[in-house]
Subunit: 388 residues, 3 copies
């Protein structure tokens, strides 16, 4: 069991070592304009890093008395995902990029998807299990990404699937993988213990939400050509405005009072849903997609989740199905209606493949991880942290 704790780190060292020499050569090449464009991508990659750490990290702090754990888990998941995905890319398998900065951004995308997945199981894993989750998740993510975007296995013709900002590849995949994982992982006793937040944990969670909101345009426009960045940013911001407004109205309409969790989460649904079409649609459509996403997401939080959990007796801790699952699928499907010259068949096929891979891989991963222990008690920092 002790050796097992060192396994992840050993595995990464070994494999990064194999790939060490593949890097670092590109940095002196490249004309001046090109390197300036790459530095601009770099700037967006820092924004994405802010989303991964402060954004997702603090969004998950809403669970009272589980703040240190949620933040530490975020740190560890990012630190597993990025080198591990980097390794894959530098080995040139599954469609890796040759540009340092593109590799970094693709690795961050993978880490984002992993953090989404972790939101579903939050509070039920020990730190070593989170890391194991990372090591199992990344290869599955990479395979799905390769199939959808790089023509892997010849299933989806390269370049035809529309998903610039990852509504399907990043968000829906992560959420559905997480749902798969909780199905095989949650115990009855755990399901019965309610998740509690308080005024302080809510404010931290809203902080995470705001950090995600503000940097979201850089997430969607990360790999977009310079000339398209402003229009993409405008679309993303309008989608977020739309979902924020819709979330407020839906939250009050469905619950009578506002839920802080709705605001912290569903307000971001516009960013999730605009991902697929962020660089290919017009502001009005973006705004409407945002409104729809905010409405769907709030409805899922307020109505679908309680019912679904009553049926399957499993807990999706952060409600990732509501924030990333449904709005992600909505965004992928919306592309069929708003993008000129899109192939609806390819788009639907890509979505279906993602659903199947994510759920199946999630189920198997949950089973595997639960071998290393399952939780029955409510989430507490005191379990793994030194407290005064």
């Amino acid at each position: 069991m002790r050796i097992l704790k060192w396994l992840p780190i050993l595995a990464i060292i070994m494999m990064v070592s194999l790939a060490g020499q593949a890097f670092g050569s590109e940095s002196v090449a490249g004309g001046n304009l090109e390197s300036l464009a790459n530095v601009q991508k770099y700037s967006r990659s820092i924004h994405i890093m802010g989303m991964l750490l402060v954004g997702f990290g603090f969004l998950m702090v809403f669970v009272k008395n589980y703040g240190r754990s949620a933040i530490t888990a975020t740190f560890l998941l990012v630190s597993v995902a990025i080198p591990f995905y980097f390794l894959k890319d530098s080995l040139g398998i599954l469609g890796g990029s040759e540009l340092d900065i593109d590799r970094l951004i693709l690795a961050e995308f993978a880490a984002a998807s992993l953090l989404i997945c972790a939101g579903a199981v939050l509070g039920r894993l020990k730190m070593t299990q989170y890391m194991l989750l990372g090591l199992l998740f990344i290869p599955c993510y990479a395979v799905n990404e390769w199939i959808l975007l790089n023509g892997g296995f010849g299933l989806v013709q390269e370049g035809l699937f529309v998903d610039t900002g990852g509504s399907i590849v990043i968000h829906a995949f992560g959420a559905l993988f997480g749902i798969g994982a909780i199905i095989t992982m949650t115990t009855q006793k755990e399901f019965e213990s309610p998740i509690e937040s308080d005024a302080t944990s809510d404010r931290f969670s809203l902080l995470g939400s705001m950090v995600l909101w503000m940097f979201w345009p850089s997430f969607c426009a990360a790999l977009v050509a310079p000339a398209d960045v402003p229009a993409t940013a405008v679309n993303v911001i309008l989608a977020l405005c739309g979902s924020t407004l819709a979330t407020y109205f839906a939250s009050v309409g469905l619950r009578r009072k506002i839920s802080a969790a709705d605001i912290a989460n569903a307000a971001l649904a516009g960013g999730v849903a605009i991902g697929s079409t962020c660089d290919q649609t017009v502001p009005l459509n973006a705004f409407i997609i945002g409104i729809l996403a905010g409405g769907v997401s709030t409805f899922a939080f307020a109505v679908i989740q309680p019912r679904l959990e009553g049926i399957i007796k499993k807990t999706d801790t952060c409600g990732v199905l509501n924030l990333h699952g449904f709005p992600g699928l909505l965004g992928g499907i919306a592309a069929i209606f708003v993008v000129d010259g899109i192939s609806p068949g390819v788009q639907l096929k890509g979505i279906i493949i993602t659903v199947i891979i994510a759920l199946t891989a999630g189920l198997m991963t949950g089973k595997l991880i639960s071998i290393l222990g399952r939780r029955a008690e409510p989430y507490l920092d005191s379990e793994e942290f030194e407290l005064e």
Copy 2:
């Protein structure tokens, strides 16, 4: 009353729809150097978004037990202001820009001014009233901006009014509009209930303050030519250093002990005051303007506000008159002394017009909003939020 809740969102949809086709065409045009320069503006627009959400949002969290409301109001105000201002710009009325990225930044400026205004009435509005405030504020803001910067009504000759970073157009306008609004809005009972903070809410507020401080150079330099960005940034940072130091000394000097609210607020006064001249002055002047602004602002918090509130029996919740009002006016007037070739008459005329429009429009808006209900009890999240 129920239909009224949907009014804002409906209004925005309808109007954005009219303007939908005006966007999105510019993104493929533009030489390479130009698009890189636009992406750099984009980067600053993200910084400004951080100020709007995390900065202003958390600065307003200092009111204990009103944190969720302050943050949610921030989300909603931004989500109303940006699409609504965007709409105006895309219709090409009131001097709109044709460049996506400039539109975005101008819309963010409008949102900043609205958030400043909201700081005055914080805690006295329901969420629907905040949104209504946004819908009423933006057109007034746009008219004032158009008069001062685009030669609207021929009152101020285009290009002569000096206000790059918005000391007058953004800060003073927002603050005075807010003061106008509270005059017609505050009830006696509400005035008598003190505003309370605690150690946690103070730290969140200082977080907001630091986020504003760090991104302020991007606010002032948002639309500045690339070659002038570094010098502008240096001026803004020196002004902020000056106001931070002055605030500390003034706070201790005037109160004997430091007030955390002084530090969180008045430390930013240098940023407010340097706005007008940020790209046209030298570092020494910037530092002095910052020191003066910090001193004036702290004096206003410690001495003027308690006396003024005693006289008019109204509460400026966040003290926006102290942070944005006086320092903004100071900055606008300072331009007369530090900018070569400035027309003092034009500068003063612009300032006076702003004061008149802001106060008048604020008074009327406050009256209008108070028709939808006034508060008498102290500010509490529990009124509109589901709490455990």
Copy 3:
């Protein structure tokens, strides 16, 4: 005593005034590509400012009931350091740059080193003493920087000392200066009062840590040529991933349970240690340097610090020796092994000079500051802040 409070601000005004005319002329010159590259540096300078304020500021909030003081001290230290260093640079002494943006970044580096130093004495100084610390620290820092990087006194040949991201010049110098200061400053009674944190202060501290983590690549790559920025960023991020993973395993291994302080601090050790070689090494080496740094830092927090403090009876409040001292030295020495064509003698000489100057100057500064009063009681905001 009252006049003394105004001394720092007066000194700065006087001296900036001497240098006022030296600025502001470069902004219109410069080709277009060059000014775009400078704006990209500007973007990184804002990231660094985020590290200084939100990062270091909140990392220091872990001391319960000392949050307002830690944040205010951060504000004041930054506001003393930047104008004061700027002044030096604009006078052209000690190797100042002529480019506005480079000056700004170098001034931020100096402020970072000062904040590191302040972490050692945190909780033992009044605000005026923090500012005095700043005024005494900056000249010492500038002299050391000048010797190591600009051939000052002819001790180290210009351009041969390898320290792009400041492992030695910024981190080790600041930490060792702080250690020098506490030796002459801590009283017996103060040493005996334990430092306490709680769940909320821990979460704020982890927020600061995440902000440092996310912006660290911009700190290391601040002055790097555009074409080298992406590879540098990749190295820094891999080093941070390495130290984060190593910290977790070392913390659990050495303490049985995780310490939130270890995660908040030692996870950053990779960033400290990769500083010297960030633009000159390959990803594998960066990852290994990060792992070593995380291990060393956690070991220092868990094992060395308690023993050392038992011997010297002094408290290093934030453990800066563990986070910035040892990992900084590790990074400077690592350069000897990973950088091609490095001169080991020069590298070692530079490190030894830094250790000597920092410790000596720290000892003298601590003595000087303790003349203005020493503390005996535990750290409390109530001493200097108005609380309800």
